[in-house]
Structure formats: C-alpha cells, structure tokens
C-alpha cells in the first residue's frame, strides 16, 4: 500500500444509520442483539391504541421503565381519550413521568439514546418517536484514591462514570464559571470526553486547542488512557508524560484553579490537567495540606530522589570502573574486598540487577496482592541475599540498584517514574561505555530532550526556563506559605494571574 493511501482518512459514514426512522428500521439495526427488547402496550387498555416501547436490556433501569413509562401508558385514562394527533404532545409534556422527553425523527439519535439507556416510544402510524431517559445508574461507588492516598484531606476519588466525576468537581467548584464541554471520541465506543475549565482563568487558546485535537481523534474506541494521551500530545513517542493526571477531585480542582484545563473520559477513573509541565509530576495532593516547611522538604526530597534513581547505577559504574580515584579510600577498599570473589564485571552486574529489579517488580504487579507481596519479598530479600552470599553480585551493586529503585517509588506520578526507569537504563549503558563522560553526555542529552518538549504550547521545563519575560507564579521546588502564593503560574497563560487578595 502506498504511503499516501495509508495516510488517507478512513471513510466515515454520515449519517451512520441511513434511511427513515421506523420501528422496523430500529429492529433491523438491532438484529442479532439479544439485549434489544420491545414491549407493546395498549394505551389504557384500548386495543386500538397501541404503543411500542423499545429499550436495551441492562442499559435501561427496569423500575424506571415500569413506573415512569409503562404504568402511565397502561393506566392513564387521558391517553385513551385524547385525540391521537395530540398523544405525543401530551406524553412529551408530562403524561409520562420521565424527567426528560425528546422527539426524534432520525434513526441515529434514537439508536444512540437506546444504547445510552433511554427507551424509545413508537405509536402506530407515526414516523417519529419519543425518547425517555431511563438509564440505569449501576456503577462503582466513589472510593478512596488508591494511587494517591490521603492522610490529611478528602478521601474521594474519581470513578469510571463521567457524570459522577463532573459532579464531584462541581460540588467543589460551585462557581458558574466552571464550564464543561463534551466531545464524543471513538467510532465504535462513542465515548463521551469532557473538557473542564474555569472561564476567565484558564487560557481559551488551550481550551480551543484541546477541543480541536479531541475532534481530530478518529479511532475505534477509548478503552485506555493512552487512547487519549497519545493522540493529544505532540511528543507521544517519548517516554516522559506530558499530561499529568490525578484520581483526586481536590487536586483536580486545584489544577483548575491554577488555570489548567481538565479532561475526563467516560470509563477512565482519572482526570487530566493540561498543560503539563515537569513540576506537576512532582506535586502531590497533600502538598497543600502539610505545613509549608514540611511540604517544601518533601518536595526537595522527591526531586533529589529523581536524580538518585536516574543517576546512581550509572554513577556507580562510572566511579567503580572508570574513575576509582574519586571514591573515598575506605569505601574503595570495601568495594575491592567485596568485588574480588565476584566473577562478573561491574557493568554486567549492575545491568543484570537492574533487569532483575524490573522483573521482580513486574511479577509483583501482575500477581494477586498477597502473592505479589510474597514474590517481592522473596525476590528482594531472599534472592538478593543469596546472590551476595554466592558471590554472584557484590553487596555494593545490590545497594546501589536498590537505592535507585526505592528512590524511584517516591515519584508521585507513575508515568514519570517509568520514564525515569527507561532513562536510567540508557544512562547506565552510556556510563558503562564512557564513564563520567558518557554519563555527562547522557545527562546533557536528557536535558536537551526535556527542553525540546512542549505540552499544549507550554515548554515542559517552563518552571525553570521561562526566562524573564514570562512571570513566574512561585518556586517549583518549594511550597511557599499559601498566603504568599498570590500568583498563578505565568507560563500556562492564565487570564487572571492573581489568585488571592
């Protein structure tokens, strides 16, 4: 297939279901769908007046269907006496008790309404129908955010239901300036994706750009976060995440207050905040709950841990194999003593240990909770200790790799931690090729790479590289006392920079 042919947009049929609306057409559309159901009802027992109610079993809630639609149809005497031409008007305006009613004349909206849990009511001899929302609300209840536990703060977290998530936000942000715009993404999944922003604070250009990119997504379905992330950001081929996300409504709202634009997708229990700059991946929902000194210290520790997890294995290789004179003498003597009985080279040792660490971690994640913990303990303690005792690895290597691994777990963002893990391998390999020179080259390449990334027009390193022309809000490494954080960050182009008196 030629390149031009493979790049061509694949055809989309509009309307999706051609032809006039009718009950027969609907049955044809839903043929071979065992969950499609229809019920014929005589209006107040009048066999000359027959209505047909269609719905999707499992999507519609049967109690609502019975009580709000079928019961009035069967028992309301007015429906038997009213002129047939007025029946639809009566039903639309209150004869049926559903909180909404909409008259439809095209098959597309009726089909999608049925799929979303509504029921469609047809009357004989008419070419339109009434759609009543009777959707079931079966969903996971709001629980605690497992990935972002709260010690001091709200304990609710986003769920798979989009409307529940927007409601969690709306309950915290009561201002009418909170705008929610919906897009449908995915040809087959038709997933609702909502864009949230605070009018007057968020950058309208970012909102417009996000909407434009959402509209441009033409995929089959949104089943995972990557289905949006990899289509929305400019540099999806690189490992560093450009769209920070959170499970916590309070943190999401804080992001909106900072002038960021929020994004929800139905079926994905998290919310994204855009644009994403590097400092966002080091912040936690607890930063504003703790005392500012404690939060600042913890923030510094997280940044330090990022350096540790990235550099320690490479630094160990560079020092031990290329620049031993830089190691303090007593430590060098200890390393020499421990290394004498190990048959493998330091480079091989470190790479193997890094790989083993990843394997153990992956095994722990894939197995059920209790077994996963056992595997981690077995892998980490028993195998590690046995490897040292058997002189397969030296203890210093084990310590270096373990410190790097544990430091990586301090990253609040799993995606950012994963990117650091990949770069850790690269830097380790560079250090094993060229010592500190290789490691320095790798670090320079990393900074060059990060400096070239952008998220919705905002530089990824914006907190550190905005220069003097773009006003900063507050330091990114530290968390100042809240009364002193009067300004929203400049790089995200907020419309109103002042956030307090």
């Amino acid at each position: 297939m030629s390149k031009q042919a493979s790049d061509a947009p694949h055809p989309r049929r509009e309307p999706r279901i051609p032809g006039p609306l009718s009950l027969a057409r609907l049955e044809e559309v839903f043929s071979d769908c065992v969950d499609f159901a229809k019920r014929e009802v005589y209006l107040h027992g009048d066999s000359h007046r027959k209505a047909t109610v269609c719905y999707i079993d499992g999507q519609a809630r049967s109690e609502r269907l019975n009580d709000y639609v079928l019961r009035p149809l069967a028992q309301d005497p007015m429906l038997a006496t009213a002129p047939e031409s007025e029946l639809f008007d009566l039903m639309e305006r209150g004869a049926l008790y559903a909180h909404g009613a909409k008259r439809e004349t095209e098959p597309d909206p009726v089909v999608f309404a049925l799929i979303n849990g509504s029921c469609a009511l047809f009357l004989e001899g008419r070419d339109d129908c009434l759609v009543f929302p009777v959707a079931t609300e079966e969903k996971r209840s709001v629980g605690e955010p497992e990935n972002e536990p709260a010690l001091k703060g709200a304990r609710d977290s986003f769920v798979e239901s989009l409307r529940t998530n927007t409601s969690l936000v709306r309950r915290r942000m009561r201002a009418p300036e909170l705008k929610i715009r919906e897009h449908i993404v995915g040809r087959q999944s038709l997933t609702p994706v909502d864009v949230l922003w605070l009018d007057g604070i968020a950058d309208p250009d970012t909102v417009a750009l996000l909407s434009k990119r959402l509209d441009a997504i033409d995929i089959d379905g949104v089943e995972a976060a990557g289905n949006l992330e990899e289509y929305l950001v400019d540099a999806a081929k690189f490992p560093f995440p450009l769209m920070p996300y959170t499970q916590r409504p309070d943190r999401f709202c804080q992001g909106l207050l900072e002038g960021r634009v929020g994004l929800f997708a139905d079926g994905i229990p998290l919310g994204w905040l855009l644009p994403g700059t590097i400092d966002q991946f080091f912040k936690t929902g607890q930063d504003r709950a703790y005392h500012w000194l404690v939060a600042s210290a913890l923030s510094l520790i997280r940044w330090l841990c990022a350096l540790i997890t990235l550099l320690v294995p490479g630094l160990y290789i560079a020092l031990v194999t290329f620049h031993p004179e830089a190691i303090p003498p007593k430590l060098a003597l200890s390393i020499v003593a421990a290394k004498q009985e190990v048959p493998f080279s330091t480079i091989f040792e470190v790479l193997i240990m890094l790989l083993s660490f990843e394997v153990i971690q992956e095994a722990g994640l894939r197995l059920p909770g209790p077994i996963g913990a056992t595997v981690s303990i077995l892998g980490g303690l028993v195998v590690g200790n046995a490897a040292v005792d058997a002189h397969i690895v030296s203890p210093a290597v084990l310590i270096a790799v373990a410190i790097a691994g544990v430091a990586g777990y301090t990253m609040p963002s799993q995606d950012f931690g994963n990117a650091l893990r990949l770069w850790r391998f690269l830097l380790t390999i560079l250090a094993s090729l060229g010592g500190l020179t290789g490691l320095s080259l790798g670090c320079a390449a990393l900074i060059y790479h990060l400096a070239g990334l952008e998220s919705f027009g905002v530089p990824y390193l914006a907190p550190f590289t905005t220069g003097t022309r773009v006003p900063r809000g507050h330091p990114s490494l530290l968390r100042l006392p809240l009364p002193r954080m009067k300004w929203r960050d400049g790089p995200i182009q907020t419309q109103n920079r002042r956030n307090q008196r």
Binding site: V320, T321, A332, L333, S334, V336, H391, G434, T437
Partner: protein, 359 residues
C-alpha cells in the same frame, strides 16, 4: 534525518573508543597503594609502595599489606616495574602518604613533586613526610604486614585536631617551594625495635628543593607559632601559689616590614596566643596572673627566636613572613622580593608575644 544522524554519529565516535575516553578497569583486581616512599638509589631512584592491610571477600578476611619495591632510572620506570610485581593491577590513585628519605631530600625533591603533579593518578593531595635518619624504604618495610598508612593517618588526624605536628600535603609544600623558594615538611624518624614505629621528629626545612636542616624541640614549636598552628602544647610553670599548667590553644602571627627608604630595616612579628589554664591549685589572679603571662610570653618568644635563628641562618622564610608583610607595601616589596632570602638572613627581627589566658 540529518539533524538526528549527526548527534548519533558523534555519540558513537565518542563512546566507541575513538575519543580517548578512559578505559574500564575492574576494582576487584586492583591493589590500591596507600603509601609511597621515594629514595635515591645507585640505579637512579628507589620507589617503595605499600597497600596497607587489605580485606578479601564480603566478610573482609584480613590479608597482609602488599609491599612493592623497584629501583629504576626514573620514577615512572620504577612505578611501571612495580606493576609487574603484583598479580593485581597496581593503582596509584589512592596514595595518601608520600615518604621522602632524608638522602633524597638532600639531593632534591623537585623531580618527585614534579612527577606527582603531572601524573593523573597520583596528584599532589598526598601528605608529605620526611624520613629522618633512614630511608623511606626502610620505614615502609618496617611497617610489616600492617603497613604504615594507619599510623600516618592517625598523625594526620591528630594534626587536624591540634595534638600533633603540622602536616603538609605535597601540593602545599610544592607551592611554597615555587613561591617562597623554601618549605617546611613534617619529619618522622623510625623508633622502637627495628624501627617498626615512626615518631615525630620535628620539621625538615627545604631550601630551593634540597634539605637545609631540621627544626626540632623548642625550635619546632617556634615554627608552629610562626605558621599559626601550634600543636597542643602544655607549658608548666611554678607560681608562689603552686604549680600551674597552661594549654596553648591557638596562635596567630602577624608580620610587618619596616622600610628605611626602599630597603627593609626591620621585621616586626606580633604573635597572639590564646591559652587556657588546665591545672592549678589556686587560680592565679591579679599580679600572679600577670607574672604567669609574662613568663609564658618569654618562653614562647624564646621558641620563636630559636626557630627564627635557624631559619635566618638558612635564609629560608618558609612560613612566608616576608610575603605576608609585603602585602602592606606592595611596591617596596616588589623591590626586595627577588633577594628576600638574603634580606631575611640579615634583617633584624623584633618579636612581640601577647598571650590571652582563659580559665
């Protein structure tokens, strides 16, 4: 595509050995030399190196110190020869202690310090010691299985705490030789059975790059006062109220050059000391305290004069008194700087000692 290719090619060239990058060397097969001794020899130079006690395995089973020795025409030749004597890679990057034999100091230390300054592994950070009355090789061999590095490290640490002689790194001594034309170096001499123990033996003074002589006893204490770092010194004296012991805790010497015209006519030294009463039966007060202070000042002045007498005889201003004083008269100092060693031997010195006694 070209934009990506260029960095990739550059990285490949740099990392594939075409760039002179350091080569990898496993630490497991390294013998880390900690102490190096240099002496003259009929062949040219005799180099002796010791690793100090080593450990093997995770449990750190002790192994005796590895001592290597080689006599060659040059230092680099001797070091290379030592590589061949060990079944491990001999690594010189951890040489912390450099011993120079007295004979080598008499011949000249410059070639050794030059070599240390140029060698990538050695550097000038090692502590420098003169071995008095013996060769460095003898001193190192006498260290036996334990080596000398523990003893030398202890002396170094004691010096930092002010309870042993001043220590000097090779770099400090080399800098003094280049800038002042002379330097002082702590001296050690073998003691005990077979010289197995090294004791402090004052300071060796290098003039040019050869040994001018040694300062010991009171003169060595005087040199410490001039250098501004007295080793903890207890002075005992008898007062009417009973014996008193005073501990000297710090010293600071300022020098002033008095010029007549453009020629120096006097070198005035003011040494300020801090002392602490460490033992007494009755705390000295009033006149008794004044008497004590006077006696201590006299004794410290004698020490300084003892050191200055020797240094002036050798024309070796190894504590940089002239250079420090010259900073107040930079123009005049430039005139005498070249001939300062001769001036230093002739100029009258006035010494003032002021002691502050704390209880």
């Amino acid at each position: 595509m070209k934009k990506r290719l260029l960095p990739c090619l550059t990285a490949c060239l740099l990392l594939s050995g075409c760039s002179g990058l350091p080569t990898a060397r496993e630490m497991g097969d390294m013998a880390l030399l900690r102490t190096l001794g240099v002496d003259p020899s009929p062949a040219g130079v005799a180099v002796t190196g010791s690793t100090g006690p080593r450990a093997r395995g995770v449990e750190g089973e002790g192994e005796p110190a590895l001592t290597l020795a080689a006599d060659r025409e040059s230092l680099s030749g001797a070091c290379l020869a030592m590589q061949g004597q060990s079944d491990s890679f001999v690594f010189f990057g951890y040489v912390d202690q450099l011993l120079l034999g007295e004979a080598l100091a008499e011949e000249g230390v410059q070639p050794v310090l030059d070599y240390f300054s140029r060698d990538a592994e050695l550097g000038l950070g090692a502590q420098l010691w003169l071995v008095r009355g013996a060769s460095a090789r003898d001193a190192l061999s006498a260290g036996g299985e334990q080596g000398l590095d523990a003893r030398l490290e202890t002396l170094q640490n004691d010096s930092e705490m002010g309870i042993a002689n001043l220590t000097r790194t090779a770099g400090e001594a080399y800098t003094d030789l280049l800038e002042l034309g002379c330097a002082y170096v702590p001296a050690l001499s073998p003691a005990g059975d077979g010289g197995a123990f090294l004791r402090e033996a004052g300071y060796g003074v290098l003039k040019g790059d050869t040994l001018a002589g040694f300062l010991e006893g009171e003169a060595a204490r005087g040199l410490e006062l001039l250098a501004g770092g007295p080793s903890a010194d207890i002075l005992d004296t008898e007062l009417p109220s009973g014996p008193v012991s005073v501990k000297m805790t710090s010293a600071q010497t300022k020098s002033v050059l008095v010029f007549r015209g453009n020629t120096p006519s006097a070198l005035k030294l003011t040494c300020k000391l801090e002392a602490r009463l460490s033992e007494y039966r009755q705390r000295p007060e009033g006149e008794e305290l004044k008497e004590l202070r006077g006696e201590l000042e006299d004794r410290e002045r004698e020490r300084i004069m003892a050191a200055l007498d020797r240094l002036q005889t050798w024309g070796a201003d190894c504590t940089g008194l002239g250079a420090k004083a010259g900073m107040s008269h930079p123009a005049r100092w430039q005139g005498v700087r070249a001939n300062w060693p001769e001036w230093f031997g002739q100029v009258p010195v006035e010494v003032t000692v002021q002691i502050g006694i704390n209880s």
